[in-house]
C-alpha cells in the first residue's frame, strides 16, 4: 500500500474526530492534530487506537509523543509496518 492510500485511510479516521468547525478539507499532510485540526488530546488517543486497528500495528508512548502532524502519523505507520 502506497502513502497515498494510507493518507486516505488516515483521513477517514481523522474526520470522525474533527470538531464541528473544522472540515475534512482542512486536513493536509502538514496539519498539526492539536493545534491546527483542533483535535483534543483525548481524541488523538482514539485516532491512535483506530490507526492500530486499521493498520494492524501497535504504537508505544514514544510514538504518541512524536505524532504531531498527519505526516508524522504516516511515518510512524510505515515504520511499524516495516518492523513487523
Amino acid at each position: 500500500m502506497g502513502n497515498d492510500a494510507k493518507y486516505e485511510q488516515l483521513k477517514d479516521i481523522i474526520k470522525i474526530y474533527l470538531p464541528e468547525d473544522v472540515s475534512v478539507d482542512h486536513i493536509t499532510p502538514e496539519s498539526n492534530f492539536l493545534e491546527e485540526l483542533n483535535i483534543n488530546s483525548a481524541n488523538l488517543i482514539d485516532i491512535v487506537l483506530d490507526v492500530e486497528d486499521v493498520f494492524d500495528i501497535q504504537l508505544e508512548n514514544e510514538d504518541m509523543d512524536q505524532m504531531q502532524t498527519v505526516n508524522d502519523a504516516i511515518e510512524i505507520i510505515n515504520k511499524k509496518i516495516s518492523d513487523k
Binding site: 483534543n40 488530546s41 483525548a42 481524541n43 488517543i45 482514539d46 491512535v48 487506537l49
Partner: protein, 155 residues
C-alpha cells in the same frame, strides 16, 4: 488476590483521591481489579445542591450522578491502574467525554452503587462503561465515560 491486599488497595486509592467535600462522591470501594471497580456513595440530605435542584423538590442532579460515576468508575480505577507506575503523585485528571442515560431519580439520603468496566486504558486515557444502581438494585443510570489521568512525572 487475597482479602488483605484488596483492603489495602482500596484504602490507598481513597487516600489519593484529589477531592474533598462538598465535591467528594465516594464513600467506599467494594472491589477493584485490572478490569473494573465497584464503589458506593450515600447522598446526604444536607448536600447543598438539594436547596436549588429543584425548588421545594430535592432530587440529585444528573451531572452529580455522572460525577459520582466518574469519581468511582474513572478516577478510583485510574489510580489503581497507575499504581504499577509508582505512587501517583500530583495527579492530573480531566473528564474527556461522557455519554449517560438516566432511568431513575435519586432522592436525598439514597445510597448508590457504581460499577465500572474498563474498555481501555492506554496513553493515559481511561474509557469505561459505568452503571449506577440504587439500594433496591434498580438501574439509575449508565453510560460511557472517558478521562485523561496522569501524574506530573510522566508528562
Amino acid at each position: 488476590m487475597n482479602e488483605s491486599i484488596r483492603k489495602m488497595d482500596t484504602r490507598l486509592i481513597l487516600d489519593k483521591l484529589p477531592y474533598e467535600p462538598p465535591f467528594l462522591f465516594v464513600d467506599g470501594l467494594d472491589r477493584v481489579d485490572e478490569m473494573g471497580i465497584e464503589g458506593s456513595f450515600t447522598f446526604r440530605e444536607d448536600m447543598g445542591f438539594y436547596k436549588g435542584h429543584f425548588k421545594d423538590y430535592p432530587i440529585t442532579p444528573g451531572v452529580i450522578l455522572t460525577e459520582c460515576c466518574a469519581q468511582i468508575g474513572l478516577v478510583c480505577l485510574g489510580i489503581f491502574l497507575m499504581k504499577e507506575d509508582k505512587a501517583p503523585q500530583n495527579l492530573k485528571i480531566g473528564l474527556s467525554s461522557s455519554e449517560m442515560e438516566f432511568y431513575k431519580p435519586v432522592f436525598p439520603g439514597e445510597r448508590v452503587t457504581v460499577t465500572s468496566k474498563k474498555i481501555y486504558f492506554r496513553f493515559n486515557k481511561l474509557k469505561c462503561e459505568v452503571r449506577m444502581h440504587n439500594a433496591n438494585g434498580e438501574l439509575v443510570c449508565k453510560g460511557i465515560l472517558a478521562g485523561m489521568i496522569k501524574t506530573e512525572s510522566n508528562g
